[in-house]
């Protein structure tokens, strides 16, 4: 079967989608007619009522096919007057690929570039076009690589081997939205019903009755049944059109390589998965570091920090760019595995065009303008744009968060809140054991009294640990105890502002222990030595700390080294009296 035939088949299937609904409705109507003509009275009425109930979701399905619009990601729309250089680039590439330029450009906060159309009639007719351009992509790609990515996107609209395939691909996008709608509506119904039943259960409780169990099994059933039907059909379509869609991707890659050069296209393809992974990492480890304490990086830095991290972690990125994922994301993903795409592009004959990757300058924590050579420089005022975009992509709730003074401040505040709030298993066990608010002092006293291992039995432990006895049990419990005790002691240090966290774009944050302060406390009776011990380097204090933890949790525990590290009691006056 040729490519044209395959595409044709897909288009027929696409048309079949609304036909499916019509067929269902016709069947129901037919049943009604039969019932009314052949049966009399109640039985006929019953059948008519049932058929109406069944028709409702079908009609809803038909309406839904018409309604959905690809949901627009939050972003900032930029006009030609705002960003003349970006628009010029976009127009130039549209010309080069032989398709029409988009009607608007929307900058978003995702690692993605997409030319979207709001097509009419399930993608059978074209509609207005918008270019969605992720700012993280602008940050991570060079201008040449961005051109390659855009050329690829336009390549989808020029039609690779057949005009029909553009249609097929648009249909795929549209169908995915439909299925999404169906399942999320069904889920919403279940969630609403659950909330209603839970309220009812709460009411029952207040009246002193036994609450009924929340049961949402029957809810959203008609919806889910319809969704299942349409999903099954949509999958059939997706499967039938998969080869067409993949051929489209390869063709788009070829277009990109033709316009921007083989090596640039390959480097852009390699950079994409690496950037996605890096951005996920950035969001999890840096940008959202202060979310538990309702704290955000300084304005503009929520997006802007990404460039700094990319610069500092260039080595890791290089690794990611060489090791490409070989498996497709899902069986219905229209994109072939990126490794395969890179292989095909790199097999093309050399065209002599130079590679243009981002050249980054490591510019520290408070460096001025980030990376040079990045596509971000196309923007008139990157800093202002980042700040404006940030206001749009953050949720209302997040916008109300406090802003940190700088990244270091963000780290300090987040870590100290994390330590103080950390409800470790040991704290819980201690609270359960003593029935008092857990404090480090109580814990150390308890260890001194020889109750550590009784306490350990209150920890959440594995089956094997619980079954073990004596020394083996203590070995099982020790790692849990140690992590928890470490957190508790660090929290104590942190509460007295003795800890210093070292922020780094290249490494995980490291903690600097209050070595000097602790030794001051330890050697109060020998004040002449303080100056001497102060001069000793940091790692030493870490060893002392670890050894003190070990001693406090030994088979025969000794808390003295740990107590020596802790600052003297904050209320010496009270103790003296």
């Amino acid at each position: 079967m040729g490519a044209i035939l395959r595409a044709l088949r897909a288009v027929v299937l696409l048309c079949g989608f609304p036909l499916l609904s019509l067929l269902l409705l016709a069947l129901l109507a037919g049943a009604d007619v039969l019932a009314l003509t052949r049966l009399a009275g109640l039985a006929a009425l019953k059948i008519v009522i049932v058929s109406f109930l069944l028709a409702v979701p079908v009609v809803q399905g038909v309406l839904m096919l018409r309604v959905p619009r690809a949901e627009r990601p939050d972003g900032v729309t930029v006009t030609e007057a705002d960003e003349p250089r970006l628009w010029a680039l976009v127009r130039e590439l549209a010309d080069a690929t032989g398709t029409r330029a988009p009607d608007e450009i929307v900058l978003t906060g995702e690692v993605n570039a997409a030319v979207g159309e709001r097509p009419r009639l399930l993608g059978l007719l074209p509609g207005p076009r918008a270019l969605h351009l992720g700012v993280p992509l602008l940050t991570g790609l060079s201008e040449a690589q961005l051109r390659s990515v855009l050329a690829h996107e336009y390549g989808h609209f020029t039609g690779g081997d057949t005009r029909l395939s553009a249609l097929v691909v648009r249909g795929r996008v549209q169908l995915a939205v439909v299925i999404d709608r169906f399942t999320s509506r069904a889920d919403d119904k279940v969630a609403a019903e659950r909330a209603r039943q839970e309220r009812a259960a709460a009411k029952r409780l207040t009246r002193g009755r036994r609450p009924r169990e929340v049961d949402t099994r029957g809810v959203g059933l008609t919806y889910r049944a319809m969704a299942a039907l349409y999903t099954a059909y949509a999958k059939l379509y997706l499967r039938a059109s998969l080869s067409t869609a993949r051929a489209q991707e390869y063709a788009a890659d070829l277009t990109a390589a033709r316009i921007t050069g083989r090596d640039t296209t390959a480097s852009a393809l390699r950079a994409l998965p690496a950037l996605t992974a890096a951005h996920d990492f950035y969001l999890a480890r840096y940008a959202s570091l202060g979310v538990p304490v309702r704290l955000l990086p300084p304005r503009g830095e929520f997006l802007g920090g990404f460039a700094r991290m990319l610069a500092a972690r260039e080595e890791n990125l290089a690794e990611l760019r060489t090791a490409l994922p070989a498996a497709p994301a899902s069986p219905y993903d229209s994109h072939p595995p990126i490794a395969e795409r890179v292989r095909r592009v790199e097999q093309l004959p050399s065209d002599g065009a130079p590679v243009a990757a981002v050249v980054r300058v490591v510019n520290g924590l408070t460096g001025e303008a980030p990376a040079t050579g990045a596509a971000l420089d196309l923007l008139t005022d990157p800093a202002r744009t980042l700040a404006a975009l940030e206001d749009v992509i953050l949720t209302d709730d997040a916008r109300s968060f406090r802003r940190a003074a700088d990244w270091q401040d963000l780290l300090d505040t987040a870590m100290s809140a994390h330590l103080t709030g950390a409800d470790t298993p040991l704290r819980q066990a201690l609270a359960a054991y003593t029935r008092r608010p857990p404090t480090l002092n109580d814990l150390l006293t308890l260890i001194d009294d020889g109750a550590l291992w009784q306490l350990a039995h209150r920890l959440p432990l594995s089956e094997q640990a619980i079954a073990s006895k004596g020394r083996a049990f203590r070995e099982f419990a020790r790692p849990v105890l140690r992590t928890s005790l470490r957190t508790m002691v660090l929290a104590e240090f942190s509460a007295r502002s003795l800890l210093h966290w070292e922020f780094s774009w290249a490494h995980p944050a490291t903690v600097r222990l209050p070595g000097a302060a602790a030794r001051d406390a330890a050697s109060t009776d020998a004040p002449d030595n303080t100056r001497d011990t102060d001069a000793r380097p940091g790692p030493d204090s870490e060893e002392v700390f670890e050894a003190a933890l070990d001693a406090a949790l030994a088979d025969h525990p000794d808390t003295a080294p740990l107590r020596a590290l802790l600052p003297p009691s904050p209320h010496p006056a009270e103790q003296a009296s």
């Binding site: 039969l34 019932a35 049966l39 640990a465 073990s468 004596g470 020394r471 070995e475 099982f476 790692p479």
Partner: protein
């Protein structure tokens, strides 16, 4: 309406078929129940009769902690340790002196007592700092603790937490082994203890060869040294069937009679035998191995601490080879203690031992008509 009936009819067909099938199965089971555990019950009766054979103990009276009876002074010393008195044990270990077989066996028995609680050992160490004997027991007990944490199951059934604790404890043990070796440079026992660490930490073969040369320089034909090293060379640890068999054959061939190293070709076979029948155990090669082991056992010092272990293996393989009379002779010599290969790998080692032993008794009766006296 007829259309609806048609639809219902089509839907009903599979349901009807399923119902018919279910009824069929039910009736069949009702009139001719499938055989279940009747065969096992017969076995149970036979086993009960066999256990009545004179002089052989039932499974609940088998000692599952040792392979054979302990010498009186050993038992007394171990009992004292259980009562937190370490002095008799320390004196005995000192008296055993350079009898490396005895030192390895007794220090192992002692260290096992410290795996659960080690207060007596701490007292010993506190009173006699740098006592090489205490250092040896300490190192061996930490190795034992590591294996206790790991548990005896295969790697698939061992949790990450168990492995983590196992490896951490073994690394501690390695330091203690080094200390024990430094305190008593002539003693091969610390290196034997390290072989169990080599298993757990997966030493490379080259490191194991180096360790082995330390051992053989001090005790060339040591039973436990070979036992541990053979485990290392088995396919399930860091070797292969070929390496293990070659190691065992070489050891057996080079050892003087009475050193009991003829046990190892049997163990190498046992560790890699996956077959379900006894054909592989009755090859001329296996019969020759068993014969060699019989000669070796006869030549050994009757007080050799490892002799019962060889006898257990002999009893097992003689029985599998259909040499019931000879097997029963070995069974009688070791009856009462079952902590030895091949029984040791079963959860119910006493039950397994008695099952094989009693089957041997029954088979001997069948062959000779009369129960052996």
């Amino acid at each position: 309406m007829t259309i609806l009936l048609w639809i219902l009819g089509i839907l009903a067909v599979p349901v009807l078929l399923f119902g018919l099938w279910l009824a069929g199965v039910f009736l069949k089971e009702f009139f001719s129940p499938s055989p279940d555990d009747d065969d096992d019950a017969d076995d149970g009766v036979g086993a009960a009769q066999a256990a009545a054979a004179p002089g052989l103990l039932p499974s609940d009276r088998q000692d599952t902690a040792y392979a054979g009876p302990l010498p009186d002074d050993w038992r007394a010393a171990l009992d004292a340790v259980r009562a937190d008195d370490w002095r008799p044990a320390a004196d005995l270990l000192a008296a055993i002196g350079r009898d490396w077989e005895g030192r390895a066996a007794f220090s192992y028995a002692l260290s096992q007592l410290a795996v659960r609680e080690d207060d007596w050992l701490l007292a010993w160490e506190a009173e006699r700092a740098d006592d090489p004997d205490a250092a040896l027991v300490r190192a061996r007990s930490t190795v034992g603790l590591a294996w206790e944490i790991r548990g005896a199951r295969r790697a698939t059934y061992t949790t990450g937490e168990q492995f983590e604790g196992f490896h951490r404890t073994l690394r501690t043990a390695r330091e203690q082994v080094a200390r024990a070796a430094a305190l008593h440079p002539d003693d091969p026992t610390p290196y034997i203890a390290e072989t169990w660490i080599a298993l757990g930490l997966g030493y490379p073969n080259s490191a194991m060869d180096k360790l082995w040369s330390e051992i053989t320089a001090r005790a060339p034909h040591h039973f436990e040294a070979h036992f541990a090293a053979l485990q290392y060379w088995c396919a399930k640890w860091s070797g292969s069937e070929r390496l293990a068999t070659a190691f065992a054959e070489r050891a057996a061939a080079q050892a003087p009679p009475g050193s009991l190293l003829t046990a190892f070709p049997l163990i190498a076979h046992f560790e890699h035998d996956e077959s379900a029948d006894t054909e592989a155990d009755s090859t001329p090669e296996m019969i020759a191995r068993v014969d060699a082991a019989l000669v070796d056992a006869a030549a050994a010092d009757p007080a050799h601490p490892r002799l019962p272990e060889l006898r257990h293996l002999l009893a097992f393989y003689l029985s599998l080879q259909g040499r019931e009379e000879a097997a029963l002779e070995q069974f009688r010599l070791v009856d009462g203690h079952v902590n030895a290969l091949p029984w040791r790998y079963r959860v119910d080692r006493a039950g397994y031992y008695c099952q094989v032993r009693d089957a041997t008794v029954v088979a001997a009766r069948a062959t000779h008509g009369t129960p052996p006296a």
